[in-house]
Amino acid sequence: MMGREPQDDVIVVDDLVREFGDFTAVDHMSFRVHEGEVFGLLGPNGAGKSTTIRMLCTLLRPTGGHARIAGYDVVRQASQVRQHIGLVAEKLILYDRLTARENLRLFGKLNHLPEQVIDERADYWLDRLQMTRWQDHLAGTFSTGMKQRINIARALLNMPRVLFLDEPTLGLDPQTTRSIREFIMELHKQGMTIILTTHMMAEAEMLCDRVGIVDHGKMVALDTPGGLKRLVSDNGRLVLELEISNLSESMVRDLQALPEVASIDHESATSLRLHAQPGEGGSTEVLSRVIAAIHADGGRILRLSTVEPTLEDVFLKLTGRAMRDEASEKVAPRRGHWRRAATRVR
């Protein structure tokens, strides 16, 4: 086929732009996703994640740049792209007045699957998502978690090469969240390419092979979760969390006096967080000095742990701590508010 990309780059995004009026939601974004990869898109509200996904799903026309999915251009070959994608959007794509199975049958038919194949796959996914016993109930009677499971089954009916999951665990209880995460891992093992957006750092860390951090429509960082964490830990700083049952002022002063200790934050009456810059002896030396100092003051250590930087730290470091009201989905900046508000609602 013409213009087919190398097999391992199932998504190629090249200089993609999307403007709403004079607000640029996606600002010259470029990235590639390999076949079989779970690719995370992280970013504050309104950073442009969903806009990017909608463009890749052919639901939104880019203002500039190109994107290809499975080798097909999302604008010029939209209908071929649609053969290869499945979408779990922010909003449930499910009809409340149809039963679970009727919903699946409907979307199966719209994907031109033979009835027998639809039933076969519906049986499989319903079973896999533990929804078989509810299949003949109206979707409107389901809990959010049940709806989301049917929604995912629906997105998988056409066995897409690329599955887009836009905050799939948003608003779900811990049980459903866990089962959906396990399910994503299973799909990953089967070789499906998955694009996942989430606000839960733990989720991204657990599921994603690579994570792109998006802010103000730009990709500000793109690496494996480990690689991203090194961004914030590379300066070699050691963070310790300590819980001492008889924590006292003098103990804190003595710890502060240690040459390697940079700062101490009190977490509570009995616990503190200690930031240290290891010297010649490395972190082992810091650890034993800290322990020795506490012992010298007669402190009883209940817990001591080293704190690894999380994706959350990376995220906050890269995107700042300011809240994103201004650039959030439906509230646009003052000027031209009316028009933009209208065009951004979906």
Binding site: T58, Q83, R97, L106, Y124
Partner: protein, 489 residues
């Protein structure tokens, strides 16, 4: 299991689906449209409240428009102030006749609309039988001023003033005035009242004329009895048709009493002299005009077209709002299939509602369909077709269901009145008539009226059919590209 349904198999199937599309694009598009229509109908039938209101709405519409408009039943016991300053035999007879004037009682005929009575209906319907309810309740008054006070205070709907020496002046050929006072604050009643009085008094005037002419034509032998089919146009000052033959008979009797014995034949010749010809008003189809016959097509077209437009624009904006439209849009189907599918489901609903209106009209209001039901359905479908484009256009630009509904409501009102659903377009000022020509609903209603009331076929409604088709095509030509453009922006 997971291996059986692995990703590679899915891809093969997806690929074969692609081939299908390439080979049978048109057929596939229609099949997809049916899938969407099926979904919509299934979805619709699952909501009991919506189903109930779906049937009740046309019933309400029909019953409301059927019963709020004045009909013959409103013409009962109307308080009428009468000032009789004359006290001669002629004026006494007029008052007496006003007192005795009745309407036919009972079922079917009473439902016949005001057209039969107030406007030029065939002469036989009004004031025929003496067994019904009296039309007027006479309130005697001493002077014209007193009568006017009665009207102002609401104790009378109108007044008749007979001046002093009325009988004598008639006898002397002085053409005295008889005054009818109407209540300008009550337009409907006063127009009905004045037209009834006008007819009645006009008929009496003719009769008096005949009586006066009769002696001049006397000295002939007797002739056969009065003609069976009466009904005549007025002469001189009185406009409108003459009420029924029964009334004439009654009055002839009274006249004979007043003026002494003249033969029925002489009277007949005298009547022919005063009134040289008789106008008989005839409809295109037999029977008196029926107000519902006029209303039913308008209401049917309006209910159906509005329901479909609302349904179409509402359904698309709603699906967009709740997000399910995305699911349809990312399926590898033609955008046109979405439009066609939605149109099919909404049209089916519309036709069912149209049928409800028609069945109600037939059962409750004795409407008769003179033309073919197929043309009725065909015109309704064309009416729907002419509005599909507009519905889609609205749904494309209204991002929320509420917005779409607001836009539709805004359009609905002018359309309701401009289309002539309730009031004939011909009664409107020229400017409004021009505007009404821009509303496709006008043509749908016109066509339906021709088919239902007049039993028209293709040759009589081809203009309407062509205009509706043209409107529909033009709207779609604008709407479909706009929809495609806006829906993916």
């Amino acid at each position: 299991m997971s291996e059986v349904l692995g990703a590679s198999k899915g891809r093969e199937l997806a690929a074969s689906g692609l081939e299908d599309r390439r080979h049978g694009g048109g057929r596939q598009a229609v099949a997809d449209a049916w899938v969407i229509a099926w979904k919509d109908i299934l979805d619709f039938t699952r909501d009991r409240m919506r189903l109930i209101s779906f049937v009740i709405m046309p019933i309400f519409m029909m019953v409301m428009t059927g019963y709020i408009f004045p009909n013959q039943n409103s013409l009962q016991n109307m308080p009428l102030a009468v000032v009789n300053q004359d006290q001669g035999p002629l004026s006494r007879m007029i008052v007496d006749a006003l007192n005795k004037m009745t309407l036919p009682a009972g079922g079917g005929q009473a439902r016949q609309g005001m057209a039969a009575l107030g406007e030029a209906g065939p002469g036989k319907t009004a004031s025929r039988s003496r067994s019904g309810n009296p039309v007027f309740r006479i309130q005697p008054a001493g002077s014209l001023a007193e009568a006017k006070e009665l009207i102002k205070s609401g104790q009378a709907n109108g007044a008749v003033f007979i001046p002093r020496d009325f009988t004598r002046q008639v006898g002397q050929g002085k053409q005295p005035h008889l005054v009818v006072v109407t209540d300008q604050a009550n337009l409907q009643i006063s127009s009905m009242l004045s037209s009834v009085l006008d007819q009645f008094l006009g008929a009496m005037a003719t009769q008096v004329g005949a009586q006066k002419v009769a002696p001049l034509l006397a000295a002939r032998e007797t002739a056969p009895g009065p003609r069976a089919s009466a009904g005549a146009s007025g002469d001189g000052g009185s406009a409108g048709a003459v009420p029924g033959e029964g009334l004439l008979q009654m009055m002839a009797g009274a006249m004979q009493q007043a003026y002494g014995g003249l033969g029925a034949g002489g009277l007949q010749r005298a009547r022919a002299t005063v009134q040289p010809f008789v106008v008989r008003i005839e409809g295109i189809v037999p029977g008196p005009p029926n107000y519902f016959q006029f209303m039913a097509p308008g209401i049917m077209a309006m209910v159906v077209v509005m329901a479909v437009m609302m349904g179409l624009a509402g359904a698309i904006s709603r699906e967009r709002e709740i997000g399910t439209l995305d699911g349809i849009l990312i399926a590898p189907i033609n955008r046109l299939s979405i439009i066609i599918g939605k149109t099919i489901s909404q049209s089916l609903r519309g036709l069912v509602q149209g049928a409800v209106v028609l069945i109600l009209a037939i059962l409750l209001f004795h409407v008769k369909v003179y033309g073919s039901i197929a043309w009725v359905a065909g015109l309704l479908l064309l009416g729907i077709f002419s509005f599909v484009g507009l519905g889609i256009l609205i749904s494309a630009f209204a991002t929320e269901q509420e917005t779409a509904m607001t836009i539709l409501m805004t359009l609905q009102f002018p359309m309701m009145f401009l289309s002539g659903a309730f009031f004939p377009v011909q009664q409107m000022p020229t400017f409004m008539q021009g505007l009404s020509k821009l509303v496709p609903l006008t043509y749908a209603i016109d066509g339906l009226r021709k088919v239902i009331i007049l039993g028209a076929g293709w040759s009589a409604i081809q203009t309407e059919v062509l205009v509706l088709t043209g409107f529909g095509l033009a709207m779609l030509l604008v709407a479909i590209p706009a929809f495609n453009r806006v829906i993916t922006r």
